[in-house]
């Protein structure tokens, strides 16, 4: 989705101000948002790609005007509503209003450390051979799906070279919309910066992780 999250190459946001960054959190509620987002993610009611899709579906003006933990909070609210775990009335009132549906898992205090150390690896056994190999010249698809994708706009329809292959990984484009993991080969593609930006850049190259369905050989027929 061409939402406000896809920021690469946009201009006019002003300076970065790293020196103002004295804390990871601006307010105590940001700590709580981090924790409830991670804990609700552990229930198994949705996956990380659905979480990202929920944040990206905020209206662009709201997304750009929000702090990052506010974006997380709005995304969490959307997921809770869309899965029916919490109703809009409950969010407004801050208290229970009726029946509660169960979640597959609850992350208990004594499980946190092990769960964090384990993480959630995204690699999966490959079911087919890799179409590309390191060194291949490829071109990314020119595409503008209305649903979640991890191919940024600035590198769509661009030529690059495969510099690494990471095995098969969960495919966010399907996983985010309930179509399953459908693991696909994942590659790192290096684009010459001039291919992306012409001469208006100080980069020499930009490397982007691309799943196989994003890629083609440059001389292939258009899809």
């Amino acid at each position: 989705m061409n939402g406000a999250q896809d920021l690469g190459g946009m201009q006019g946001f002003g300076p970065i101000h790293p020196e103002e960054d004295v804390s990871l959190f601006h307010a105590d509620w940001e700590r709580r948002v981090l924790a409830i987002t991670l804990a609700m993610g552990a229930t198994g009611k949705w996956n990380i790609d659905m979480s990202r899709a929920a944040r990206e579906s905020l209206p662009p003006a709201q997304y750009l005007a929000s702090s990052y933990y506010e974006i997380w909070f709005r995304g969490l609210e959307r997921l809770l509503l869309s899965t029916g775990l919490v109703t809009a009335e409950e969010i407004e009132a801050g208290e229970l209003k009726g029946a509660t549906s169960p979640v597959p898992r609850v992350l208990m205090a004594d499980q946190v450390n092990a769960a964090l150390l384990r993480g959630s690896p995204a690699d999966r056994p490959a079911t087919v051979g890799a179409r590309f190999k390191v060194g291949d010249i490829v071109r990314t698809h020119q595409m503008h799906p209305l649903t979640h994708t991890r191919l940024p706009r600035y590198c769509r329809g661009k030529r690059g070279r495969i510099i690494a292959e990471h095995g098969a990984h969960v495919f966010p484009d399907t996983n985010a919309i309930g179509l399953g993991e459908q693991a696909q080969w994942l590659y790192t593609v290096r684009f010459d910066a001039v291919e992306l930006w012409g001469t208006d850049t100080t980069a020499a190259s930009v490397c982007v992780d691309c799943w196989e369905p994003y890629l083609d050989y440059p001389n292939a027929e258009p899809d």
Partner: protein
């Protein structure tokens, strides 16, 4: 109390009441990422790579395994790649689409890393971004930017600075800043030593 404070508290109490979250688990999650996991982990990795050529090679060949050998694994660091800075190439890491960041070695990302100014500019003007952090590199050094679009997480292995000969790993780690492992900074002499110099 701000409106967000109120909304977040209200939602948290609903989630606790429903039994979806364990309040003690929330406290441990915050404690872990605020105080335990942080850039000191990554600094230890870098210092070891500076001191031990075999470890350095392992880190560059298989960062996930080399970093796991020091006990750093898990969430947002399941698949790690180390990027070696050289006199010819400077690496910079960004996530233009959200805030992907190698948590086990760097902790939670700083606010600027998740902000629109950094996410928009790093991929098109990394030299200007580095300058904004107070560092300038020679004109012939090429900037290579890594956009973390998948679940692969990137850690920059900065160049070992001059003036660190003979230092042991623990002392070397003090030179390794968080930003030097993102590519928005360079290793820096630790404060107490600067006072003595």
């Amino acid at each position: 109390m701000s409106e967000m404070e109120l909304r977040v508290r209200a939602l948290e109490s609903v989630l606790v009441e429903k039994g979806y979250v364990d309040p003690k688990a929330l406290d441990i999650l915050i404690e872990t990422y605020e105080h335990k996991v942080g850039p000191h982990n990554g600094a230890r990795v870098v210092a070891k790579a500076w001191s031990d050529p075999a470890y350095r090679q392992w880190l560059l060949d298989d960062a996930t395994a080399a970093i796991a050998s020091l006990g750093y694994t898990g969430r947002q660091g399941e698949h790690l790649v180390a990027l070696e800075n050289t006199p010819a190439v400077h690496n910079m890491v960004v996530c233009t689409l959200c805030s992907c960041y190698p948590w086990p070695v760097l902790g939670l990302p700083p606010v600027w890393y998740k902000s629109a100014p950094y996410r928009s500019r790093a991929v098109i003007d990394p030299r200007g971004v580095l300058r904004e952090f107070g560092f300038e590199l020679p004109a012939e050094t090429e900037f290579r930017v890594w956009d973390s679009t998948a679940e692969v997480r990137y850690l920059v292995l900065p160049m070992r600075p001059a003036g660190t000969n003979g230092l042991q790993e623990q002392a070397l780690a003090e030179w390794v800043t968080r930003d030097s492992m993102i590519g928005t900074g360079l290793p820096t002499m630790p404060e107490p030593k600067r006072e003595l110099a």
